[in-house]
């Protein structure tokens, strides 16, 4: 079967779900971050695939570049937060960071 847009979108959807699963279930903050990166990658695949198959100009790719840039910034800040969390709680398990629990 010829590989087309749907294949790429399905791949992205699977990747997205895997990332989401990691974000929802993992206790370790770094692993959660990894899940976020997977989600962003899935979104990027969609952007680039749409740029290729639907709208043949480069807008999708440029947005992908911006997503990557933003992801880098987000990762840096998030890791700083993780380190700070570790400073305070001596742990980076998210279920222990529950001082807002009702």
């Amino acid at each position: 079967m010829e590989v087309g847009l749907n294949h790429y979108l399905a791949l992205a959807a699977i990747l997205f779900s895997l990332g989401l699963f990691a974000v929802v279930t993992k206790k370790n903050a770094v692993t959660v971050l990894m899940g976020v990166e997977l989600i962003l990658n899935a979104a990027n695949i969609n952007f680039v695939a749409f740029a290729r198959f639907i709208d043949t100009d480069l807008d999708g790719q440029i947005i992908a570049v911006f997503v990557i840039v933003t992801a880098a910034a987000a990762a840096a800040v998030a890791l700083a937060i993780v380190l700070n969390l570790y400073e305070r709680l001596k742990s980076i398990n998210l279920d222990e960071a529950d001082s807002l629990a009702g």
């Binding site: 989401l20 974000v23 929802v24 279930t25 959660v32 998210l94 279920d95 960071a97 529950d98 001082s99 807002l100 629990a101 009702g102």
Partner: protein, 660 residues
């Protein structure tokens, strides 16, 4: 030529960047680098000027180029350079004075702890000023306008250890901002109407009648607000005398020759924009400024302050020239004034350098000690007083002629000419007062006098060069041919749009003759009076000062402008705060206390009811809520991930609902 212009623009910028980053590590702290860059720029500007003069065509656009800067939506903002005759002259004036000031500063600033930073700031200023002259649109002129203001702020407060210097810097910056707000509003009016920042685009739009008369006048006056701030016109002139806290070469470059003239240049550049009403407004402001500043200058004792007020007064002249339709006259006075006022400042700097004081009471008799400074200073003074055949005579005479012509054409407006003529006499008087007090007579302070000596060559050479330019390189005819009044017709105006100002007819001719004769007479009588008072000492200045005590105090306190602003704006704010505090304390607190007492009484009563009846109900409700909360709080886990899970669940439910 475009390449030349870009290089002229970039050379000072490069010098600034290099100086600010590694100035301290360069040999001689890098003064040669900045100075060299400015001299190269000067020669390039000279070649452009020679081109302009040899072409000899009226208002010819020698070169222009536009680049797209950025765009958002359908708005494309361009950035361009335009070189016409006016630009060529301005480029020459700015680079010449900047280069000479650089050279002069090598001697003047010798040994200053922030020597290289000083040159860096000078480079930044030169870059900004040249950019201001070169750009072809309102946004660009605004950007460079602010940059010029910034570098002026940095240089005024250069010796920021002195409170007076840093305060003067802040004062200059804030006062300028007030004017800039008006200018910004004007630019926004034009931009929102025409959708472009380009001069040509805006002028073409105005010519096509895109703005109603009222809006056009408003835009013109608002735009002029910018010039009021930057060119120190009434009522925002208060910053310029204080700006003399900066190093003297800076005063020469920025606060005499170039930056303060930027307002005049801007009005000249956008001249076709102004309606007749706006021009009248400009003329009135200029007249007030010229007269007021000239009178203040009579009584000042600080040599630089006299020159500062003289500058304000001369800027007023330029504005009157422009406002009364004497476009060429105003811009020519800009050029000639730049030369001799820079010379005066540099000369005063030389004197200050020699006696280490700015008070004229400390000087006197310096003629023999500092011959070069004296003779060049004298030439500049004669030029400023309007003595023929020096350059100042031609330009000032042209402004007076323009004012007179305006008076002859518009009934009831003759007062402008009369006041301007009077101010011309006062100008001659206070300038010669300055010369006599500084260079003639007996030395007031013998120790300082003995210590004084002629300045080094790096300082006197600029004086001599500027003296040559003050003597009379500019004569009226060819300047008028090169830079003649632009008209809206060039931008395709319909014939119905009225042309303002006159032409070469009998009225103009008569006006010119009368103005010339009267200006010479007035100037000479001013000089005569000064000579009588301060050289022959036939009339005692002190006696007349005490006889006219109220007037003297008024002038000495500069018409109480600073006090007025302090009394209105600053103490107004304080008074308002105090009033609010009082209101708070008396009224609000009183009300609150009263309410409190009332409540206490009522509470006593209701407390009894409460305890019995209400509590029972409340406890019941409370128990219900507590039960529900205990059930629901389990949802609030404090864990982001479980919230996310719930949100996702909601997404699925929404999808399902949407499907069926």
């Amino acid at each position: 030529m475009i390449t030349n212009a870009i290089l002229i623009l970039l050379l000072p910028l490069a010098a600034f960047v290099v100086q600010i980053s590694f100035g301290k590590r360069l040999p001689r702290k890098g003064d040669w680098l900045s100075t060299g860059a400015m001299f190269i720029a000067l020669f390039m500007a000279l070649s452009i000027l020679v081109d302009a003069i040899s072409t000899y065509e009226s208002n010819k656009v020698l070169a222009a180029q536009t680049w797209e800067w950025f765009s958002f939506g359908s708005v494309h903002v361009t950035f361009g350079i335009v070189i016409d005759n006016l630009t060529a002259f301005m480029l020459f004036v700015v680079t010449l004075i900047s280069a000479l000031v650089h050279l002069y500063s090598i001697g003047y600033m010798h040994g200053d702890p922030r020597y290289s930073r000083y040159f860096a700031y000078l480079g930044l200023f030169s870059f900004s000023m040249l950019g201001l002259v070169l750009v072809d649109n309102f946004l660009g002129i605004y950007v460079f306008w602010e940059l010029v203001g910034l570098s002026s702020y940095l240089l005024i407060g250069f010796w920021f250890e002195k409170d007076s210097a840093s305060n003067a810097g802040k004062k200059a910056f804030i006062t300028n901002r007030i004017g800039d707000v008006g200018m910004f509003a004007a630019i926004m009016i034009l931009f929102s109407t025409f959708g472009t920042f380009d001069f040509d685009g805006v002028f073409a739009g105005v010519a096509a009648g895109g703005l109603s008369d009222g809006w056009l006048t408003a835009a013109g006056i608002l735009l002029f607000f910018g010039a009021i701030g930057k060119s120190a016109q009434f009522p925002l002139h208060v910053w310029l005398p204080d700006a003399m806290e900066g190093p003297t070469p800076v005063s020469a470059l920025i606060h005499a020759a170039t930056m303060v003239a930027a307002g005049v240049y801007m009005v000249g550049r956008t001249f076709v924009l102004y309606s007749a009403d706006a021009l009248f407004f400009i003329a009135v402001i200029g007249t007030i400024t010229a007269f007021m500043a000239a009178t203040i200058a009579i009584v000042q004792k600080d040599i630089k302050r006299v020159l500062a007020y003289s500058t304000i007064s001369q800027l007023g002249y330029m504005m009157v020239g422009l406002g009364t339709g004497g476009y060429t006259a105003g811009l020519m006075h800009l050029t000639t004034h730049a030369m001799f006022k820079a010379l005066l400042f540099l000369g005063s700097g030389s004197v200050i350098h020699a006696v280490h004081s700015q008070e004229m009471d400390d000087m006197g008799g310096l003629r023999k000690k500092m011959p070069i400074t004296f003779w060049t200073f004298l030439i500049a003074t004669l030029a400023l007083s309007g003595v023929p055949p020096l350059s100042g005579f031609f330009s000032k005479d042209a402004i007076l002629a323009s004012a007179l012509e305006y008076g002859m054409r518009h009934s009831g407006q003759m007062w402008i000419f009369v006041i301007m003529l009077l101010s011309a006499g006062i100008t001659a008087f206070y300038m010669f007062r300055l010369v006599y007090m500084t260079f003639f007579g007996e030395p007031a302070d013998k120790k300082k006098y003995d210590h004084a000596h002629e300045s080094p060559l790096t300082m006197t050479l600029p004086l001599m060069i500027l003296a040559v330019f003050s003597i009379g390189t500019f004569s009226w005819g060819w300047f008028e041919h090169l830079i003649s009044k632009p008209s809206l017709a060039a931008y395709g105006a319909v014939a119905a749009v009225a042309e303002h100002g006159g032409g070469h007819d009998d009225v103009a001719h008569t006006a010119h003759t009368i103005a010339m004769i009267s200006s010479i007479v007035v100037a000479l009588s001013g000089i005569l009076l000064a000579t009588t008072v301060y050289y022959w000492k036939k009339i005692s200045a002190e006696t007349w000062g005490s006889r006219l005590k109220p007037l003297y105090n008024l002038l000495w306190n500069k018409y109480y402008f600073d006090e007025l602003y302090a009394a209105t704006i600053i103490s107004g704010t304080l008074w308002k705060s105090r009033f609010l505090a009082m209101f708070d304390l008396r009224v609000i607190d009183g009300v609150v206390n009263g309410v409190g007492r009332l409540t206490a009484g009522l509470s006593n009563v209701s407390g009894k009811v409460d305890l019995r009846v209400v509590d029972g109900l409340v406890n019941l409700v409370g128990r219900i809520v507590a039960y529900a909360g205990a059930r629901l709080r389990t949802l609030q886990t404090g864990n982001v991930q479980s919230y996310l899970l719930m949100a996702l669940f909601a997404v699925i439910i929404l999808f399902v609902i949407q499907q069926f």
